[in-house]
């Protein structure tokens, strides 16, 4: 019991934040006077410039959001639109959302095939292809289109002059298999005047991104592959490394700040020096170390090192610890607390903001990391979000931008939410990062 009493006493006395202060939220009077003077015109102008710069900074994010809510055909529309819209047309007596596929440059006809592989189907054919009621038509074979060996008899059901739009029924983005189950999409050719547009938000792109990031040869199951799998992997690595880094850095920084041991100052100087070493310089031997440990192909290289401390965090925490009142520690020692108890009952409560900050920064770094996963994760079922997204992008080339943007949004959003929740901790952390200067 004595230690819990002590801690209550401590937290009562020192609940106020200790450490460098965050940038002042709203300086009202004081700070602002420094440079600009009190001139309201100058302030107004500054805000205008800042807001203009701010909108430039926001533009890409806004564009990402808007693109992620558009249907595919609208991402390829010129000039680009800022409001996602649905195009409506009447297909087979029903008013449906459609995708504009292409505007016909030549006169076309819609014809029903009277023979060949796709007998009975409707096809859109160039008008001059049909000769004497017959036409060369394509059919699909193993995912590729091939021509029928012979012209096929056709019956023309509709004439479509140039300028008409070829439209297909819009369907939510799903994986190839799901698409097959959905059956044939409705389609038609209609005049521009028959199309109408209404603002419409395509949330389904997000569901599409969840599905499309998996591949045909991936294992089935919602969490076994694709976005959700990557998310779980990322969380696993991030959480483990955040726990590791907070725990180990607290211990080490405590030792650096309050305990004496031979070689301490040399070790600390080394700690500072290694921050200068660029990663490429040690990339090869580190890979070799992990390889000989048999850790390649596991998550270990991504989280185990965190349990052995990080130079920058140790440095930050040491700075912070040294600012704590020394007499509290001595008091605790006199009370007979062991070092672990001192850390838990004295240091941790006092250093909460600093610990929160390193946890936050480690989480951020881990979530964003690309090179590490690229080096060490070989199997697709292990990919983290950044690697999964990059793979998806490089496989698809540049076409499904709406899906790519939706996936990117889902990848970035947790960090943005985290920032909004923990903005003060972030700002404190940034202010602290500058201590070194």
């Amino acid at each position: 019991m004595p230690e819990s009493k002590l801690s209550r006493w401590l937290s009562g006395r020192f609940s106020k934040r200790i450490g460098p202060k965050a940038p002042v939220e709203d300086a009202g009077g004081g700070y602002g006077n420094k440079v600009g003077g009190g001139n309201p015109v100058v302030h107004g102008a500054l805000h205008v410039i800042l807001l203009a710069a701010g909108s430039l900074f926001m533009l890409p994010l806004l564009w990402m959001t808007v693109t992620s809510l558009k249907p595919l055909s609208q991402t390829m529309q010129l000039p680009p639109t800022w409001i996602p819209r649905a195009t409506l047309a009447v297909l087979g007596g029903e008013k449906l959302i459609v995708e504009k596929q292409k505007q016909l440059e030549k006169p076309h006809v819609i014809a029903v095939l009277k023979g060949g592989h796709d007998k009975g189907q409707r096809k859109l054919l160039e008008a001059d292809v049909v000769k004497d009621g017959k036409a060369m038509v394509k059919y699909t074979l193993a995912g590729r289109e091939e021509y029928e060996p012979e012209p096929v008899p056709v019956e023309i059901v509709k004439e479509c002059p140039a300028g008409h739009w070829y439209v297909t029924q819009w369907q939510p983005e799903f994986s190839a298999e799901r698409e097959k189950d959905q059956g044939e999409k409705k389609w038609d050719c209609v005049a521009e005047s028959e199309l109408s547009e209404v603002p419409h938000v395509f949330w389904s792109n997000y569901a599409g991104a969840l599905e499309r990031m998996r591949q045909k040869d991936d294992d089935p199951g919602f969490f076994s592959a694709g976005f959700m799998r990557c998310l779980l992997n990322t969380l696993w690595v991030c959480i483990l490394s955040v726990i590791g880094v907070t725990v180990s850095c607290t211990l080490v920084a405590y030792s650096f700040s309050f305990l004496n041991f031979p070689g301490r100052d040399v070790l600390f100087a080394l700690t500072l020096a290694v921050m200068m070493v660029p990663f490429p310089a040690t990339m090869v031997p580190i890979f070799d170390v992990f390889r000989s440990l048999g850790w390649v192909g596991t998550f270990k290289p991504l989280w185990v090192p965190a349990w052995f401390g990080g130079a920058f965090y140790i440095f930050l925490l040491r700075q912070f610890f040294l600012g704590l009142p020394r007499d509290l520690l001595d008091a605790a020692r006199i009370d007979g607390c062991t070092e672990l108890e001192i850390i838990w009952h004295v240091i941790v409560p006092l250093a909460r903001p600093a610990l929160a900050m390193i946890a936050l920064f480690q989480f951020l770094g881990c979530w964003k990391d690309f090179m590490g996963p690229l080096l060490y994760l070989t199997d697709r079922s292990q990919f983290t979000l950044s690697l999964g997204l990059q793979q998806f992008q490089s496989q698809q080339g540049g076409t499904p931008w709406h899906i790519l943007m939706a996936a990117s949004m889902m990848f970035s959003l947790p960090l943005i939410i985290l920032f909004i929740i923990a903005r003060k901790t972030f700002m404190q952390g940034i202010a602290m990062t500058g201590i070194k200067g």
Binding site: E145, V247, G297, I343, Y376
Partner: protein
């Protein structure tokens, strides 16, 4: 126990548990079934054909020595060479890698592949050099060892548009046989509009421009003399590139550049050959697939690409091949070998390369990858069923003693890039053929010497 100690114990157990559970993903393995992985380079219809062939293998339920049924999981992997290299370096490779033949030499030199000699020796009644077209078997060899076996081979030939020949007053059944004839035909097949802009060409050396290193071979030159000596500036090579320069001079570099702007991508109906803009191209056996996909009505022919020397009816061609390998460090070598063996059996290979019957279900496939097989003798009916109308041309070309595989020199990757560079320098008249080739020779020979020096140093490990 006190709180901090409890927490310390808790954290320690989190670490230990996480450490213990964090293992490389294991493929399913039961006493009845063993799963192995195969990374395949193709992603399009060729990848589908490979997957279909692996499906046949899986349906055959071949067992390993322990009596487990082998199940092969075939994954299409983009940038397979990059990803395999990383996985092999990390000691976590797939069991099988499908590469291009030109990857294998550098991978073998890096020590990244497992030689197949002992396995071939074990199954020599099924896999034997005598069954293969020599050029393809040779392509699998490097520095005395076998590193891979073929999946689908290819050779290149002259493809010509018969309608364009007819229109130009040429006999559509008589392609050019010599470089001189090629020039004559090309001239007749070239058309300009009234403003002097090129609207059609008989032949255009940079279309498609995938084998710029090979021009010398059609003039009797060669790029290397053994593995240690490069011969980029061989007089015959210089002759070939002089011809290239002459060609560029004749039709006008700017004019041709403007003409080329109108070409669409290779796999589209706007491809220069498919759209009837260029009448003759040097292309591989796969071209027939794309003609079938995009312009089935086109009248075309194919035959040996002309050369400027007569070697008693041995036409010149370039060998090219997709291969299958076992990376160094693969966990299931014997099972991987079963897959490779199946693909290199007549039933597997025919199913992969052409129209053939699935031995397990009896169903016909739709033409596979549409290429030739690496075998000297195909089973009866294969060539007749095959979707390629001129398959025999390619088989004969592959069998010709002048069918050249890409040289196996250790700097090949760079050598090839350098030759493309030489072509561009000469084509754009930035350098004479002689200067450009001499520069290439002088740049690459020292590089090769350096690599050979290191290889000598490691001679003992190689054995």
């Amino acid at each position: 126990m006190k709180t901090p100690h409890l927490i310390a114990a808790l954290l320690a157990s989190v670490f230990i548990l996480a450490f213990y559970y964090d293992q490389p993903p294991r493929r399913e393995q039961t006493p009845e079934k063993i799963t192995i992985t195969y990374w395949e380079k193709w992603t399009g219809f060729e990848g589908e054909a490979m997957k279909a062939t692996i499906d046949v293998f899986n349906r055959k339920k071949i067992k390993n020595k322990k009596g487990q049924v082998i199940f092969c999981k075939c994954l299409s992997v983009t940038q397979v060479d990059r990803k395999s290299a990383l996985a092999i370096a990390g000691g976590q490779p797939p069991d099988i890698c499908g590469f291009w033949e030109f990857n294998t030499h550098s991978f073998a030199d890096m020590g990244a592949l497992r030689p197949l000699d002992d396995l071939i020796e074990r199954d020599k009644d099924k896999i034997d050099a005598s069954k293969y077209i020599p050029v393809f078997w040779e392509m699998c060899k490097h520095r005395g060892k076998m590193w891979c076996l073929p999946t689908t081979p290819a050779a290149v030939a002259l493809h010509w548009n018969k309608d364009m020949f007819r229109e130009a007053g040429l006999d559509p059944e008589k392609p050019p046989r010599s470089i001189q004839e090629l020039e004559e035909f090309a001239e007749k097949l070239t058309k300009k509009d009234k403003d002097g802009r090129i609207i059609q060409m008989g032949f255009l050396p940079p279309e498609p421009g995938w084998w710029h290193w090979s021009w010398g071979y059609f003039f009797g030159g060669k790029l290397n003399d053994g593995l240690e000596k490069l011969t980029a500036n061989d007089p015959k090579n210089i002759e070939a590139f002089k011809w290239v320069a002459k060609f560029a001079e004749k039709y006008g570099r700017e004019d041709m550049l403007a003409f080329q702007q109108g070409f669409g991508s290779f796999d589209s109906p706007q491809n220069a050959f498919l759209s009837g803009r260029v009448a003759m191209v040097l292309q591989g056996v796969w071209m027939a697939n794309f003609i079938r996909f995009h312009r089935p009505a086109m009248k075309w022919g194919c035959g040996p690409f002309p050369s400027n020397f007569d070697d008693g009816g041995h036409p010149v061609s370039i060998g090219d091949m997709d291969v299958i390998t076992i990376p160094r460090g693969a966990k299931h070598v014997d099972e991987a070998w079963e897959v490779i063996k199946f693909i290199n059996s007549p039933e597997g290979m025919e199913y992969l390369c052409g129209k053939a019957e699935d031995p397990t279900t009896g169903e016909m496939n739709n033409g596979g990858q549409g290429k030739l097989t690496p075998f000297l003798q195909d089973r009866p009916g294969f060539i007749e069923r095959h979707p390629h109308p001129f398959l025999k041309v390619f088989i004969d070309l592959a069998k010709s003693k002048n069918c050249v595989p890409p040289p196996k020199v250790a700097v090949w990757d760079e050598y090839q890039k350098e030759m493309t560079n030489v072509f561009e320098l000469v084509w754009l008249n930035k350098m004479s053929a002689e200067e450009a080739l001499n520069a290439a020779q002088n740049r690459l020979q020292p590089k090769l010497d350096q690599i050979l020096k290191i290889q000598k140093l490691r001679e003992d490990e190689w054995k």
